[in-house]
Structures are given as structure tokens and as C-alpha cells.
């Protein structure tokens, strides 16, 4: 196939979006329906990968629509950070779909057509966010992502799901309409432009009071980045089926949030301006507080998914810290952490779902001795935990490394301490789960003669892939590292330069 790169950018959004039509049409034939989803995700991977090679070799792609509102158009451009995000999202969509087929059938979920359709729309909007070249475009897809994931959160249709959905939509819409939209229009009125440019859109004539306020509005407005006190939606979203929690609430939705934070900090404000703003430090310490408090809350959760959710809140704080440190090493670490955390956390969620399907256990206290029953799952859980903590030989090591360097560069020692304490807390709330699963007797005290009863084969396959991914990312970091470096170059703040 010889498609022009512009067309390919368009197709990354249209392929998942239009996959919805055959998915709905194949309502009565589950195998065909899932086949369509997998085909679409393979096509997406092909498109994103070709775009990756194209841009790596120095090509640039821009796609601009006619004006929607005079002066404002939907415009897309591929830049390295968006490339990281879209690569992660497209590959993990395939893996998650494979996992979901096993999970949804094993769990006898209802309304699977709605599930796969909304999932595809969510992925389409993620692609829109990743390639957006101005705030307006980004905002549109950001909102579509919120609405398309709402039916996934409320999938079960129970009272609890309905309430979870209310919190989810309530917080995400409140922040985005009240703060983010205001910040975007404020930027538009103040700077007269809202496209992403190296070094930011503001100039020295804009008073620090206005730009400082806009920064606060942005950081709080991007509710998907789950900075406290606007983090409650994420635990609430855990009523969703596990594949949703895994891909959307560990990868797509939350990463859309921190991705937007990074983009705004680097391309709207610019790191140089960011350093001088009076509000940057306040927000930085707020993010640090989020990291610690969320970890402490995570320790107190007995429900595995809830614990993972709070762990995600904490890890998202890392990326926000990386952006707000306003150093190139911090931004580098933040960008890499988008990918590293994605692989680690999706593995953990896959495991949580596998445990739920195979042994119907949701509480951590019930999982003692489970390692003998589900060895593969628990080993994967162990690897995922290592990556989240940031220990070798897993990918999480690298992103934490650069975040630390960023903290040192800017001489923010408190942040450095926070990062280290947080790693310890991660160890405390994650590692006991696999350790007790292997080393402690189960509830009945029976040590021997436990039959292996693993999750459905497809789910197990997906778990192994992402767990391996965590390790591969440790040894083979080069492509990701180069992308992150070129992100800094594109932003005009080269690392080590």
C-alpha cells in the first residue's frame, strides 16, 4: 500500500471510528465481531508504525481541516511525544482486545457489542489527541474520549455502576468545561493563538499573573491527569469490566491526561516561561503530595483494582512532576514514563482481571497462596510490580532515573525525596501480593495438591506479552529514548545540550 502520510494520519482516526459500523452489524456473530476489532487494531498498528518510520527518517506530516470556527481548525501534526502515545495505545489496543475476548466470554458479560464499539471510538479519540496540533483539536477529542468511555464505565448497569458513572462523568466534565475550556479560551484571547509551538505561545508582554492563572486552570482542568483533589473519578471508574480498567484507565484515558499536561507545559508555556511562573512550584508540590497521599491510600485498599487505581493516581503524579520540574531531564522522564507505566500497569490490571475470572477473587486478603494455582499470572504480576516500583530489569527503571535527574538538575531536593519515598511505598503495597501468593499457605492451610486453574488462554497470552514488554523495555530502550530525545529537540530544549 502506498498511502500518503497525510491520509494515514486521517486513517488512524477513521479506521477505529468506522470499525464501529461493522462491529454493530456483526452483533449476532461474536467471532466475526471480535475479528473485526482485531483487524482494525492490526490496521491501526500498521498505520502508526509506518508513520513512525516515516517521521523517524525525517518526514513531517501536517493535516489541517477547513476552519470550523473562523481562525480555528482541526489540525494534526505528528510530533515525537504524540508518536510515543499513539504507538503505546495502538499496540496495547491489540493486546487488550485479545485479552478482552477471553475475559468478556469467561465472565459472561452482557452487551458486548456496545463494549467493543465504545472501545473503538475511545481509541479513535486517543489518536486524535495524540496527533492534535492545537488546543482546540485536542479539547474536542478529549471530550469525545470522556463521553465514549462513559458507557464502558457503566457497563454493568447496576446501581453501583450508575453511581460510578456519575462520579466519572461529573468530575471529568466539571474540570474540562469549567477549567480546561476556560484556560483554552483564555489562551486564545491572551496569546491570540493556540497551536503547539516550540517555546510556547506566550510572549513577555503577557503578565505572569494571567499566565500563572492559566497554568493553574490547565493543570486542574486536565482532570484526566488525576491531580488531587480531582482524582476521585479514577477509583470510581473501577466498576468497569477489567479490560476497560486496563487499557482505558491505566493507559488511554489517564495517559491522555498526562500527555496533555506535558504538551501544554512544553508547547504552550515553554519550559523557560514555566520556570518563572509563580504558580509552577505550588502545583509541583501539589503533584508531589498527590504521589505520596495516593500511595498511602493505595496501601489501605484491600480491593485489588482499587489499590491499582490509587497506584495509577500516584504514578500519574510522576509525569506531572516531570512536566512541572521545567527541566529537559524531567520532561524526558515524564515522556518515557508514559510508555513504561503503561506496560507495567496494564499487566497488573490484566492479572487482576485474570484472578477475578479464574478464581472469582477481588480482595487482596483472599489471594494468599494463589501463586500455586495461577503461577503465570502471579509471575506476571511480580514483573509488573517491579516496573511500577522502578527496579531492574524492567522498563520503569529508566523513566524514574530521568525523573530523579530532573529533580537534581532543578535542585528540588524535596521532590527527590518524594520520588524515593514513593518507590518505597510502591514496594510496600505491591510486592506483598505476589510474595504472599507464592510463599504463604492459602486460607485453608492446604499446601499441596492444588490444581492449576489459570485464566482463559487468550487472556494469559495477553498477560505474558505485556509482562515481557516490561522486561524488553529495560534492555531495548533505544527507540523510545530516541523518540523522547527528539521530543525535547522539537520542543527546543534538547537534553544534555
Amino acid at each position: 500500500m502506498n498511502l500518503s502520510p497525510e491520509l494515514m494520519v486521517l486513517m488512524t482516526i477513521l479506521v477505529p471510528a468506522f470499525a464501529v459500523i461493522p462491529i454493530i452489524a456483526a452483533n449476532r456473530y461474536p467471532n466475526l465481531r471480535e475479528g473485526i476489532t482485531i483487524t482494525a487494531s492490526l490496521m491501526l498498528i500498521y498505520l502508526v508504525s509506518s508513520l513512525y518510520t516515516f517521521t523517524r527518517d525525517g518526514g513531517s506530516v501536517t493535516l489541517v481541516s477547513p476552519d470550523l470556527i473562523p481562525g480555528l481548525s482541526l489540525s494534526f501534526e505528528i510530533e515525537p511525544l504524540g508518536m510515543i502515545f499513539s504507538l503505546v495505545a495502538s499496540y496495547l489496543w491489540l493486546v487488550t482486545t485479545v485479552y478482552a475476548v477471553g475475559y468478556m466470554r469467561g465472565h459472561h458479560e452482557q452487551n458486548q457489542t456496545r463494549f467493543y464499539s465504545c472501545f473503538a471510538i475511545a481509541i479513535a479519540s486517543v489518536m486524535g489527541i495524540a496527533y492534535a496540533d492545537n488546543l482546540f483539536t485536542l479539547f474536542i477529542f478529549y471530550e469525545i474520549l470522556t463521553f465514549s468511555t462513559y458507557p464502558l464505565v457503566t457497563h454493568a448497569g447496576t446501581v453501583k455502576a450508575k453511581q460510578g458513572g456519575r462520579v466519572y462523568l461529573g468530575i471529568l466534565l466539571t474540570t474540562s468545561i469549567l477549567f480546561l475550556l476556560l484556560a483554552i479560551i483564555g489562551t486564545w484571547v491572551t496569546a491570540g493563538r493556540m497551536d503547539f509551538v516550540a517555546g510556547g505561545v506566550f510572549n513577555e508582554n503577557n503578565s505572569p499573573l494571567v499566565t500563572g492563572t492559566l497554568l493553574v486552570l490547565f493543570i486542574f482542568g486536565i482532570g484526566k491527569a488525576a491531580i488531587m483533589p480531582f482524582h476521585r473519578w479514577l477509583p470510581a471508574a473501577m466498576v468497569a469490566p477489567t479490560p476497560v480498567s486496563a487499557l482505558l484507565h491505566a493507559v488511554a484515558v489517564v495517559k491522555a491526561g498526562v500527555f496533555t499536561v506535558l504538551k501544554v507545559c512544553v508547547y504552550i508555556f515553554g519550559l523557560d516561561l514555566l520556570k518563572t511562573l509563580p504558580t509552577t512550584d505550588i502545583l509541583l508540590y501539589l503533584a508531589a503530595a498527590t504521589v505520596i497521599i495516593a500511595s498511602i491510600i493505595a496501601m489501605r485498599q484491600d480491593n485489588l483494582k482499587a489499590r491499582l487505581a490509587y497506584s495509577t493516581v500516584s504514578q500519574l503524579g510522576y509525569i506531572t512532576i516531570g512536566a512541572l520540574l521545567a527541566t529537559s531531564a524531567g520532561a524526558l522522564g515524564g515522556a518515557m514514563h508514559i510508555a513504561m507505566h503503561a506496560f507495567g500497569k496494564i499487566t497488573l490490571f490484566f492479572c487482576a482481571g485474570a484472578i477475578m475470572v479464574a478464581s472469582h477473587k477481588t480482595e487482596i486478603s483472599q489471594m494468599r497462596g494463589l501463586g500455586r494455582q495461577m503461577p503465570i499470572t502471579m509471575v506476571a504480576f511480580f514483573i509488573g510490580s517491579l516496573s511500577i516500583i522502578g527496579l531492574p530489569p524492567t522498563g520503569g527503571t529508566w523513566s524514574k532515573w530521568y525523573l530523579m535527574i530532573g529533580a537534581i538538575d532543578s535542585e528540588k531536593w524535596l521532590i527527590m525525596i518524594v520520588l524515593m519515598v514513593s518507590s518505597l511505598l510502591n514496594i510496600a503495597y505491591l510486592l506483598p501480593i505476589p510474595i504472599r501468593a507464592f510463599l504463604v499457605d492459602n486460607e485453608d492451610g492446604q499446601k499441596s495438591e492444588v490444581k492449576i486453574k489459570e485464566a482463559p488462554l487468550l487472556s494469559l497470552l495477553a498477560i505474558s506479552v505485556t509482562a515481557l514488554g516490561c522486561i524488553v523495555l529495560f534492555f531495548y530502550t533505544q527507540p523510545l529514548f530516541e523518540l523522547a530525545l527528539s521530543f525535547l529537540e522539537a520542543a527546543g530544549v534538547p537534553y544534555g545540550g
Partner: protein, 492 residues
């Protein structure tokens, strides 16, 4: 023929109305009304095209030159609204064919369509005319026929609702006529263009000030500005569904048009802003209206009432745009005028389809309809999202312009309040959505089917218009901008 378009615009429905009485066959009357409205729509298309290419059209009725004769004056502002009103009326009449047949007893169909066409005549007349007294005449034609339409509703409470509206509407009309009378006393003319030129000489007089006061109060009653909105919720809730869809989309909008026309083209913006603290009054009443009505909408049990209260809130946004007092603000108001008409007509027609199938618009009767009437319910969701102002819908375009105008004027706190108010819209829209999709049915829905195509097509036509004009804003933004420019520039 083309030269006579301005008068044809009004005459066609005016003649169509009594002809309905002659046709006498209920089935044909509906089709005839549709035909008449479609003809009016074609005329308005022609008018808009002429105005856009040749500028303002002046038409002297019977060849009598103004200020002795009555003059029709079509410029960008009213040609755009003529198109909107006649267009919505036509789309609504397509859905009316089945809806009216089911909701009203057969012997009332003729009356319904007669008053519908009269109402259309009145609204188009108000828009087309360039004569201050003529506005009053057409206002009464449209008002009297809407009282009739509302009273035709099958629920007995429709009668009290109509009566309430009659009393309030008459007070409003009386105030307007007092205002017009006082102006005539001082200037000796009723022609708008003429008035605009003669009024500056007598700006200082108390008579003109009181004329302006009477006029503002009267017209605010008509457009249901808080706290003069009390007639609206019942009128919308108990009228036949088709009447609600038509009135909600057009009649308050036309009242806003009168306000803008008088403020800008007759009194002149200088007089308006210096004689009374009108901007402050509009700012406060607009904001209170937005919040009070949106909060009331949350507590309604009837879906029609929810959206009726939402209409009052939307009027608040339009008034807020006027309160800014800048060209950008006026653009936002004009844009929202058009956009809100699209949202509300789609929503009320969809609710009409629900009433058509289950005979009720109580919110708890909607439970479980998500599976039974998927297309109608999806239309309600789309309309609701547009009402909230989600990107890619017309609601977003309106909100964007309003907030830009507010920030441009330095009114940051008001911008925050406006955005906050759309969160209240999220609550009342989501309440409906949760009933539709997440609650088991309260009534037996076994033999409930999707709405008939004759209703689904107009509903979805409007929903798609909501999406289309949310993406391609060239026509709406372009015309609103030009109209705002000319209103701020030379008075026509």
C-alpha cells in the same frame, strides 16, 4: 415575481390559513399546511440569497412610499431569521402529519393547522416588517394563534396554561403598544427607519424614556426573561407536542429579534446604554435566569418541562450576550438564537415521538425506552449533548463565542459562571439519560415500537443539522457577524 418576495413571505401563510378551513378534509389539511410552509421556506431562501448578493431589500406595500405606507425591509438579520423560522416550521410540519393525528381528535385538526399557519404568518410578519406598529399587529396574530394551539392540547391543564399565557402575553403586548404609541406621539411616525432618524431630536424627553421602559418590559415578557417567564413552562408542557416544538424553536427567538431590532435599529445603541443601566440589568437578570431556570430544570418530572426550563436558561445566555454590549457579544447572541432553535426543535420533536408512542412525557415513563426506541433516544442524547455544549455540536459554537466575547470584555468571573452553568445542564440532561438507559421500565413496553419514519426523519434531520452547523459554521457565524456589524454600524 422576485421583487414581491418580501410580501409573499407573509401573504402565503396568511392566505393558507383560512384556506385550511375550506379544505375540511383532516388528512389533506396537514399536507396543505406543509405545502404552504414549504413555499414560505423557498421564498425565504430566495430572500436570503438576494440580500447576500444585493444588500438590504426595501419593499413598499401597495406602492405607498414610507413613512405613509407600510414598508418591509429585509436585511441580513431578518432574512437569516426568516429562513430559520420557515425552515423549522416546515420540518416540524413533516412530523406533524402523524403526531397531530394521534394526539388530537379529528375534528380539531383543521383548527390546529389553521392556527399553526396563522402563528407562522405572525412570526414571519414580525421579522419582515419595517414598521413599528406592524410589529405589534403581527405579534398579536402570532400570540392569539399560539394561545389557540396551546389550548388545543388534550390535557385539561392546557386550558389554564393557555389562559395564563394569554394574560401575560396581553400585558406584554399592551406594554409594547404603549411604547409604540408614545413614540408616535413624539415623532409622528411609525416607520422604523424614520423613527431612528427622528428620535435623536427628542432623546432627552421623559416620554421617550418611558416609551423605551414600557417597550423593554413588554418584550421581555414575550421572550420569557427571568422573572417574567412564568407563563412558559406550563404552556410548553401542555401544548400539543408539535406546537411545543414549533413555539419553543421560534416564538421566543422572534421576541429576542424584536428586542434587538428596537434596541439597535430604532433607539440606537447610544441611547440604550446611556438612558438606562440596561447592560447591568440584562447582566444580572440573564445570569439569575440561567441559574434559576437550570436548577429548576433538575427538579422537573416531565421531560417537556425540563426542556422548557432549559429554554428559559438559554434565553438568559442570549440576553447575557446583549448585556456585553459589544459586537462580539451581539454575534454570540445571534448565533445562539439560531443554534438554540436547532437544539430545541430536535429535542421537542423527539419528545413528541415519545408521546406519540407511550402517550406520556413523564420522565419515569421513559425508563427502559433506550432499547425500545433506540433512534429517538439517541436523538435525545445528541440534542442533550448539544444543549450542554459538547464540541462538534452547535451548542459548543455558541458557548465558545459567548465566552470569547466575555473574556474579550474582561468579564472573567461571568465567563466562569457561564461555564459553571453548563455543568448544571449536564445534570438535567444526564438525569434524563439515566432514566432512559439505566432504569428498568415502569410501564409495560412490550408492544412499543420505534417512532414512525415520518417523525424519525425530521428529528434526525434536525439532529444532523445540530452536528453539521457545529462543524461547518460558515453560514451561521458569517451571517451573525455581518448582521452584528451592520447593527453596530449604520442603522438601516
Amino acid at each position: 415575481m422576485i421583487a414581491h418576495y418580501p410580501i409573499l413571505q407573509v401573504i402565503i401563510p396568511l392566505l393558507g390559513a383560512p384556506l385550511c378551513l375550506f379544505i375540511r378534509i383532516p388528512r389533506l389539511v396537514g399536507l396543505f399546511a406543509l405545502l404552504v410552509s414549504a413555499a414560505a421556506f423557498l421564498v425565504s431562501c430566495g430572500l436570503l440569497q438576494q440580500v447576500l448578493s444585493h444588500g438590504t431589500i426595501v419593499y413598499e406595500i401597495g406602492g405607498w412610499a414610507a413613512p405613509w405606507g407600510i414598508e418591509y425591509r429585509i436585511d441580513q438579520l431578518n432574512s437569516y431569521l426568516l429562513l430559520l423560522v420557515s425552515g423549522i416550521s416546515t420540518v416540524v410540519l413533516v412530523a406533524a402529519q402523524t403526531s397531530v393525528k394521534k394526539e388530537l381528535p379529528e375534528n380539531r385538526h383543521i383548527y390546529f393547522y389553521t392556527s399553526y399557519l396563522l402563528c407562522l404568518t405572525g412570526l414571519l410578519g414580525i421579522l419582515a416588517t419595517g414598521d413599528a406598529f406592524n410589529v405589534f399587529v403581527f405579534l398579536e396574530i402570532s400570540a392569539l394563534s399560539s394561545y389557540t394551539m396551546i389550548a388545543l392540547g388534550t390535557d385539561r391543564r392546557a386550558l389554564t396554561a393557555s389562559y395564563q399565557y394569554l394574560v401575560m402575553g396581553t400585558i406584554g403586548a399592551t406594554f409594547i403598544i404603549i411604547g409604540v404609541g408614545l413614540m408616535y406621539m413624539m415623532t409622528g411616525t411609525l416607520n422604523m427607519h424614520d423613527l431612528a432618524q427622528r428620535l435623536p431630536e427628542v432623546y432627552k424627553s421623559k416620554t421617550i424614556l418611558s416609551a423605551f421602559g414600557f417597550f423593554i418590559v413588554g418584550v421581555c415578557l414575550k421572550l420569557a426573561l427571568f422573572p417574567l417567564h412564568l407563563w412558559l413552562p406550563n404552556a410548553y408542557a401542555f401544548a400539543p407536542s408539535i406546537a411545543t416544538a414549533f413555539l419553543a424553536a421560534t416564538s421566543t427567538k422572534v421576541a429576542v429579534y424584536i428586542l434587538i431590532r428596537y434596541m439597535f435599529s430604532i433607539f440606537g445603541i447610544e441611547f440604550v446604554t446611556t438612558s438606562l443601566p440596561l447592560n447591568d440589568i440584562f447582566l444580572v437578570l440573564g445570569l439569575i435566569g440561567i441559574f434559576a431556570a437550570s436548577v429548576s430544570a433538575i427538579y422537573q418530572r416531565n421531560v417537556k418541562r425540563i426542556f422548557a426550563y432549559s429554554s428559559i436558561a438559554q434565553i438568559g445566555y442570549m440576553i447575557l450576550g446583549l448585556a456585553i454590549g459589544t459586537q462580539l457579544g451581539l454575534t454570540a447572541t445571534l448565533l445562539h438564537l439560531f443554534n438554540h432553535a436547532l437544539m430545541k426543535s430536535a429535542l421537542f420533536l423527539a419528545i413528541g415521538a415519545v408521546t406519540y408512542r407511550i402517550g406520556s412525557s413523564q420522565i419515569y415513563h421513559l425508563a427502559g425506552l433506550g432499547r425500545k426506541m433506540p433512534f429517538t433516544m439517541a436523538a435525545i442524547v445528541a440534542g442533550g449533548l448539544s444543549l450542554i455544549g459538547v464540541p462538534l455540536t452547535v451548542g459548543f459554537v455558541s458557548k465558545w463565542y459567548l465566552v470569547v466575547a466575555l473574556l474579550d470584555n474582561g468579564w472573567w468571573p461571568v465567563a466562569v459562571l457561564v461555564l459553571f452553568s453548563s455543568l448544571i445542564a449536564v445534570i438535567y440532561v444526564w438525569r434524563v439519560i439515566e432514566w432512559i438507559y439505566f432504569t428498568p421500565p415502569r410501564i409495560i413496553l412490550d408492544d412499543i415500537k420505534e417512532a414512525p419514519l415520518s417523525q424519525l426523519i425530521p428529528i434526525w434531520f434536525l439532529v444532523l443539522a445540530n452536528l453539521y452547523f457545529g462543524v461547518d459554521t460558515r453560514l451561521t457565524v458569517g451571517v451573525s457577524k455581518m448582521a452584528a456589524q451592520s447593527l453596530f454600524g449604520v442603522t438601516p
